[in-house]
């Protein structure tokens, strides 16, 4: 009885008629003699929607899918089987005016016709080819941009951050992912709950840069959160002649030691890959940096931004000391180039100079200078920048 009701629902034109397996058969015979073939094909016993069928086949919900037990290779994809189907097209090849044939031709209403066998075969073959082509197109692997290496999200670009509520756009800012990590939290109901934590840096290549972390259950949501948060935490970093830092910086942030050295034009960025990414976003083109101790990405980024923000520009140094800051370049010979002059008073007494400078030496550097360092990685020739 229930099956008959469902059958009646499938054939909307017969809704008013009391549904019955026997009745529908009779009606089919009398009204549409040609359509009798059609009605025999419809599953009148149990008709299920495509949605339900697919839900059963894919098995997205279930014990296997929860708690991260699902394997990536066992994931099936839904396919719309009715794509390319025109109402009116069938195996017999009838031409129904208004459905798969034009209704009027030269003002004359057409009659129901049938295609020849060859034509019908051709039409069916065409449809088959078309469906295969769609499948092939879907299977093509889209080449995506590589970050620092093939399978990592580090170094990949996320495009500019989303525009703000008051209409401000950040078109000239680029975001780069620094780290993607799956972190887990124990909850009462499900136990281990996975969350994705993303560290992202934004910058416009002209000195303005910032970083932020975003956390969400889904990866793309975490990306979005981090991107839009980073744009609100920008640092402005002073650069010398727009290509390098003002002076050598060696700092320790928690357990991460970073030693940055100023380099001339054309040297490139010879640093840790994360530092290269961040420097590109800031706009620094030539620098050497060595990271020792802990390489925790978050501490590295925080330490780097702290160190770069606390640089002393030449003008600030001149004002502090009250003396001219004079630059001597090897390639220019003995020519003194005044880079900054104090805005306030100019001191008369010179800076005291001792024979032995009171500078803390770095043992690694001393070893390298004396030739005591046996390392295969020192002075290795790599690709530019």
């Amino acid at each position: 009885m229930a099956a008959a009701v469902r059958a009646a629902r499938c054939l909307p034109s017969l809704r008013g008629v009391p549904a019955g397996h026997f009745w529908s058969r009779q009606l089919a015979h009398s009204a549409f003699p040609a359509a009798s073939a059609l009605s025999s094909k419809t599953g009148t016993l149990s008709s299920v929607t495509a949605e339900e069928l697919w839900k059963g086949a894919l098995a997205e919900t279930g014990a296997g899918a929860r708690k991260g037990r699902g394997k990536r290779s066992k994931k099936k994809r839904r396919k719309d089987l009715n794509r390319g189907q025109i109402i009116g097209e069938g195996h017999s090849g009838f031409l129904w005016p208004g459905l798969n044939a034009p209704l009027t031709k030269n003002g004359v209403v057409q009659a129901i016709a049938q295609r020849s066998k060859e034509e019908q075969e051709k039409v069916e073959a065409d449809l088959f080819q078309q469906r295969e082509e769609w499948d092939r197109k879907r299977k093509i692997k889209v080449k995506r941009e590589r970050g620092w290496s093939g399978n990592t999200w580090g170094g990949m670009s996320l495009g500019p951050p989303d525009p703000g509520p008051n209409g401000e756009t950040y078109e000239d800012f680029d975001t780069r992912i620094l780290e993607v990590r799956n972190v887990f939290n124990m909850t009462a109901k499900e136990g281990r709950k996975k969350s994705v934590r993303v560290l992202v840096a934004v910058g416009n290549g002209r000195g303005a840069a910032g970083f932020a972390i975003g956390k969400a259950t889904e990866r793309i949501d975490a990306f979005r959160k981090a991107k839009n948060k980073a744009i609100h935490y920008l640092h402005y970093i002073e650069r010398y002649e727009d290509h390098t830092i003002f002076h050598d910086i060696s700092l320790r942030f928690k357990r991460t030691h970073i030693k940055m050295k100023k380099q001339p034009r054309g040297y490139g960025l010879r640093c840790h890959r994360a530092i290269i990414t961040i420097c590109r976003l800031i706009g620094i083109k030539d620098m050497y940096a060595k990271v020792s101790g802990s390489v925790n990405m978050l501490n590295l980024t925080r330490g780097l931004f702290q160190g770069l923000s606390r640089q002393e520009t030449h003008q600030q140094l001149a004002d502090k000391k009250g003396l001219h800051v004079v630059e001597f370049r090897e390639e220019c010979g003995p020519l003194p180039i005044v880079v900054a002059s104090p805005q306030g008073a100019l001191r008369k007494d010179p800076e005291p100079e001792e024979e032995v400078p009171d500078v803390r030496l770095d043992w690694e550097e001393v070893k390298a200078a004396q030739g005591m360092k046996r390392s295969v990685w020192a002075g290795l020739k790599r690709a530019a920048t």
């Binding site: 002076h247 050295k261 100023k262 380099q263 001339p264 034009r265 054309g266 040297y267 030449h314 140094l317 001149a318 000391k321 003396l323 001219h324 800051v325 004079v326 630059e327 001597f328 370049r329 090897e330 390639e331 220019c332 010979g333 003995p334 020519l335 003194p336 005044v338 880079v339 100019l346 001191r347 008369k348 007494d349 010179p350 800076e351």
Partner: protein, 359 residues
């Protein structure tokens, strides 16, 4: 043969159209040995061929002493008009870069450093010598007809003792025909470069000194590089050296690119060439246009020193002209582009008056 013709034309430059006594000719063409024995900027051999020393004594007896390139007054004038643009002299050289060093200095220390830089600049601006073209060597030592046909190639015998000046070395060539002769100047240079290689000098002259390549260099405004390479490669009294220098100066004059050589060590040589050729109009116009009227007056003074019997020198002496007036006198009398010079002077004076009125 070509060398002789060049020598003749050189003499013409120096003498001008006036006839001078033959004694004067000698004084002009042969150099004062004392002047040359001063420390030269290039690591040339100090000693001169002995025959030049003997003739030098005669020049002291002549009455009108023509000023040479090495005279103190001439050098002072040339140094003055060369200018001292530190930025240009210490232009960044193309070499491996190192990060710059910074010093904190007081005003006094800064001035001290600038003085040091000026001293180093003056050393860099030391002018290379302007010499006469060397007479070709045609000295045959022996003719041995017995040896004819025995060898297929020339043999060059060189004395490679360490402590002989290169100019006094004995380099002889035995030809396949049996003649033993002294090596020509070009052969001498090549052989000395093989045994005592000098940095920057090649045994065979590089192809950049060919006509087409020189033209390319001139079109790219690289006259300074051409002249530096020429100094490194050739001796100052060799034909090619003089020819290339004159060619470069002529190209600069044609296009008016005098500023390329300003603040380099080649400017003095260029000015000397123009004054000897009596073709200082272009240079004067360029100097006035760049507001270097003092340099222009110095140049005209140098011209009068070298050609004291010319109309403009006599006019100047009569009128006792000074400063801009001197240039006007020169423009009126001897200049080819006198009108241009006067026009430029006028424009400069108007600009000067308006500037002083404004300030």
């Amino acid at each position: 043969m070509a060398a002789f013709r060049v020598q003749m034309s050189l003499w013409k430059f120096l003498m001008g159209s006036r006839g001078l006594e033959p004694v004067c000719n000698q004084a002009v063409t042969q150099l004062k040995p004392s002047a040359l024995l001063q420390p030269l900027p290039l690591p040339l051999a100090v000693g001169l061929p002995r025959r030049w020393l003997s003739s030098g004594a005669e020049s002291d007896t002549s009455k009108i002493k023509k000023p040479t390139f090495m005279d103190e007054e001439v050098q002072n004038i040339l140094i003055k008009i060369t200018g001292l643009n530190l930025e240009k002299i210490f232009k960044p050289a193309i070499q491996e870069l190192k990060p710059p060093t910074y010093k904190l200095m007081t005003q006094a220390q800064l001035e001290e450093a600038t003085r040091e830089a000026v001293k180093a600049a003056k050393v860099r601006l030391k002018m290379p010598p302007v010499l006469e073209e060397r007479a070709p060597i045609n000295d045959v030592l022996a003719e041995d007809k017995i040896l004819e046909g025995t060898e297929m190639a020339k043999y060059v015998f060189t004395d490679i003792s360490y402590n002989i000046p290169h100019r006094e070395r004995f380099i002889v060539v035995r030809e396949p025909s049996g003649t033993l002769r002294k090596a020509f100047w070009e052969e001498r240079d090549r052989v000395i470069q093989i045994y005592f290689p000098k940095e920057g000098r090649r045994v065979l002259p590089p192809i950049i000194f060919k006509e087409e390549n020189l033209k390319t260099m001139y079109s790219r405004d690289r006259h300074v590089d051409v002249l530096n390479l020429c100094i490194a490669q050739f001796e100052p009294d060799s034909t090619e050296y003089i020819k290339i220098h004159h060619q470069t100066y002529q190209d600069i004059d044609k296009h008016g690119k005098y500023d390329l050589l300003r603040s380099t060590r080649h400017f003095g040589g260029m000015a000397w060439y123009f004054v000897n050729k009596k073709n200082i109009d272009g240079l004067l116009i360029d100097q006035i246009q760049r507001d270097l009227t003092d340099d222009a007056t110095c140049l005209v003074q140098l011209y009068h020193m070298l050609h004291p019997d010319g109309p403009s020198a006599q006019e100047a002496r009569e009128q006792g002209a000074e400063g801009i007036h001197l240039i006007k006198v020169f423009a009126k009398t001897e200049a080819q582009k006198g009108a241009y010079i006067e026009l430029t002077l006028q424009t400069y004076q108007e600009a000067f008056i308006s500037h002083s009125a404004a300030s």
